[in-house]
């Protein structure tokens, strides 16, 4: 199950500056675990020590909100990771 992943600039330090990534997984949780294997440390920036999505991070699958790590993905889906920005 190949998933296209797009990450914001806040995570570039884990991805060598790349915004477009590829990961494997049948659920949002699995995709994040695979991303962490490929880019160590990335998962903890978006999921806290209790396994909860951090409040300043949101996930969108094919432009629709994904609110739970159990959310299923299909081959070719796009996962967009969004971090809250405060700069003005």
């Amino acid at each position: 199950m190949s998933i296209r992943v797009v990450v914001p600039g806040q995570l570039f330090s884990y991805t060598d500056g790349q915004s477009r990534l590829v990961a494997e997984g049948a659920t949002l949780g699995e995709v994040l675990e695979d991303l962490d294997r490929r880019h160590p440390g990335l998962r903890f920036r978006v999921i806290d020590e209790h396994g909860e999505i951090r409040p300043h991070v949101r996930f969108f699958i094919n432009h629709q909100p994904a609110l739970a790590l159990s959310r299923a993905l299909a081959d070719g889906d796009e996962l967009l990771v969004v971090g809250a920005l405060s700069g003005g």
């Binding site: 914001p8 909100p65 809250a84 003005g88």
Partner: protein, 258 residues
């Protein structure tokens, strides 16, 4: 309730390129002229937003910022110029806006807007623009807009990433900012002063905020209500994602119920 005053010949000429647009026309321009818009933050986003709103004829602009102009601001905060360094941003900004449009009325609040002052300004505004630079202010503005059911145009920019959305809190089905990003104790504050920001990015996002504010005032087109627009300034790619209300939102749950 807006009170429309007929335009004089100078105004008809000045705003003729708006009036020519069938989506705006005389009626839409009169709505802009009669409007009161609150702009919180006179920095990177507030600069282009306020300049376009003033040039477009917004009747009363309320510009709020407690900071003074710093040399490091001038790379992107186009309301201000070298001679303004050290001045209050709202005073420097007011001068620029009145040079752009002497017919604009610019009110200034030279402090961080909070508490009763924030409530009063939001209650009096037709549209609120969040051009602030910290999460505490963003959440305070959102709470006030929820309470007073005012449309909120929210923008943010850092490094090469920009975000802009409309939370039209007059509409029962519209999400609020807290539905999107709940207020949390461990929120990561990323500041331009530390991380940097690409100068034109703030122009693009701030100008988009002005566009959305004018559309709200005129009542034309489709706003970003219920959508978050994301700009990757490095790849120069826009993405739009769908937002929904959080039924458990700590700020707006129950809004719209009898």
């Amino acid at each position: 309730m807006w009170v429309f005053v007929p335009m004089n010949d100078d105004q008809l000429l000045r705003y003729s390129r708006h009036i020519l647009l069938p989506e705006i026309g005389v009626e839409g321009q009169e709505a802009i002229l009669a409007a009161r818009v609150l702009v919180v933050g006179a920095g990177g986003l507030g600069s282009p937003a306020a300049m376009y709103l003033a040039a477009a004829g917004v009747g009363t602009l309320v510009l709020c910022d407690g900071d003074t102009v710093d040399l490091t601001n001038l790379q992107r905060q186009i309301l201000h110029s070298a001679e303004g360094v050290g001045r209050l941003k709202v005073e420097s900004g007011r001068d620029t806006l009145l040079r752009l449009n002497p017919f604009a009325r610019v009110e200034t609040v030279a402090e961080r807007l909070e508490g009763d002052a924030l409530e009063a300004q939001v209650a009096a505004a037709d549209v609120v623009l969040d051009c602030s630079d910290n999460f505490a202010t963003r959440h305070a503005i959102n709470r006030a807009c929820v309470r007073h059911r005012k449309p909120l145009v929210s923008g943010a920019a850092i490094r090469f990433d920009g975000q802009v959305s409309v939370f039209d809190l007059r509409q029962a089905e519209s999400p609020c900012y807290h539905c999107l990003f709940p207020e949390g104790q461990e929120v990561e504050e990323i500041r331009c002063a530390v991380m940097g920001v690409f100068a034109p990015l703030t122009g693009i996002i701030g100008a988009t905020q002005a566009a959305e504010a004018l559309k709200l005032l005129i009542g034309c087109g489709t706003t970003l209500d219920g959508r978050l627009l994301l700009l990757d300034g490095l790849g120069m790619e826009w993405r739009s994602v769908t937002l929904g209300r959080d039924p458990g939102c700590g700020v707006c749950a129950g809004r719209g119920e009898a």
